[in-house]
Symmetry: C2
Subunit: 281 residues, 2 copies
């Protein structure tokens, strides 16, 4: 497996593959790879001739109070995991390679970032759409792979791709979970033992909401209240940033249950802010 | 020559050409073609296997008080001119084809739109960068052609292409002029006879500024004053929106003469707002 740090080199290689008629599957990541990322690579491997992964901790999507500097990094281990999991080419640029000093261009999807994580992370999704647009231009994918855990990111990117007529597909890959249900995340390493013990209540609360909906409960407030109660009781170390049932396309909170919908939550533990969701078609 | 109205069809065709190893030269226009556009096609014809032109009067780049509805249109004549001037394929979508009802994605180059036309046309360049990004995705050009007359547009698009790592080139084609020096523009048809008679003073005033710089004048204020005086005297029907000497890359007004620079002006005649510029390397 080749590791490329130069964007010009990566782009030349990708354009040559496309000219040769090869399809490119692409999974952009921030590294510190886990089973969630590996599932992206596995699906990309099945559906494309070439699999490209990228590792770039994108400063533009972190707020000034957020964990950019602390975000875990381990390129050596990540490279090995990529090579062992079907990646043909790893693009791992540094910050200066991605952003010139006079960088001034931003891609923004308006509206969808008012909700869920967007409400408490101003500028975050603008940072995501901008860097992903760059990565798409550099890596020239036919298909791209994103985890369901970051469903708002995925929904916003889908809108971006549609609105800007980009000739590629965005594929949603199911969230990978620990045996106790906790969504796998690079940030889980920041949890204390006590927090880690309580963290499975996050997914349990979403699953409870799902069960209520499946049983025919139509009152959003009742569902949210029961799910929140479960979370408060079983994860007292967590502060609920949001726990909402939203329209799957618009991401705005539903007044009554109507599918497709997403039950989504963000919980601030002392060690890390964790997100999770369940999609109901 | 083929005329295509569907973006999916245009994109499929463009991707197939690229896969076949053919280079695509692309000139996006708002139609009502004149000698300026034809010079874009001619240069694209020289440098590429396939020449694609587009005609789309982009509502997003017109302000609420601007001339979107009045903007001149003549697709039949334009198609003939394209066919006669080396265009292989004309992409002419309608508004609904380009913008879905829930369109929400914008591309913006920050900073460069504070100056020149950007100062009096808020949102204009965001409309330009957004539609051009879409047209690039649809038409998949290797090289794109823009007229020097719209130099701010060109400078902003160059920054967008660089910042977003788009694998294409932006080529600047010299402004085409009438025999008396007036920059050719689709909006010239709106000028009354009296306005048309005065309009050559616009380019004359820029040429005067250029002459003063060539003769060694370093004082920006003196140069601007002399050029403005010429314009006021010889085009009394015009109101000067701006007449400035700016840095060619940053577009901010220069305090002292330093090349590369642009001498640029916008003049509001009763019938139309006209722009022109001289680039000094």
């Amino acid at each position: 497996m080749e590791i490329i740090k130069s964007k010009k080199e990566m782009q030349a290689k990708a354009l040559a593959w496309r000219k040769d008629g090869k399809s490119i599957g692409f999974a952009p990541t921030m590294g510190y790879l886990h089973a969630g990322h590996l599932s992206l690579f596995a699906q990309a491997r099945k559906e494309n001739d070439i699999v490209v992964a990228s590792i770039f901790v994108n400063p533009m999507q972190f707020g000034p109070q957020e964990d950019y500097d602390a975000y875990p990094r381990d390129l050596e281990r990540d490279s090995r995991l990529c090579a062992e999991n079907g990646v043909d080419c790893l693009f791992a640029p540094d910050k200066a390679e991605m952003y010139e000093a006079d960088f001034a261009t931003y891609v923004q999807v308006e509206g969808l970032d008012n909700y869920l994580c967007g409400a408490s992370r101003p500028g975050h999704f603008r940072g995501v759409t901008t860097v992903v647009m760059k990565l798409f231009a550099i890596c020239q994918p036919n298909r791209t792979y994103f985890g369901q855990k970051d469903i708002q990111q995925l929904t916003i990117l889908q809108r971006m791709v549609g609105d800007l007529d980009l000739p590629l597909e965005i594929r949603m890959v199911p969230t990978q979970r620990e045996a106790d249900g906790l969504a796998i995340s690079s940030r889980n390493v920041f949890l204390s033992e006590a927090e880690r013990k309580q963290a499975p209540a996050i997914y349990q609360s979403l699953a409870l909401a799902q069960k209520l909906i499946n049983e025919g409960e139509k009152d959003v407030d009742i569902i949210i209240e029961m799910a929140s109660n479960h979370l408060h009781k079983n994860a007292p170390l967590g502060h609920i940033d949001y726990l909402q049932i939203v329209d799957a396309a618009k991401l705005d909170p539903l007044l009554k249950i109507e599918k497709p919908l997403v039950i989504a939550t963000a919980v601030k533990m002392p060690g890390a802010r964790l997100i999770d969701n369940i999609y109901m078609k």
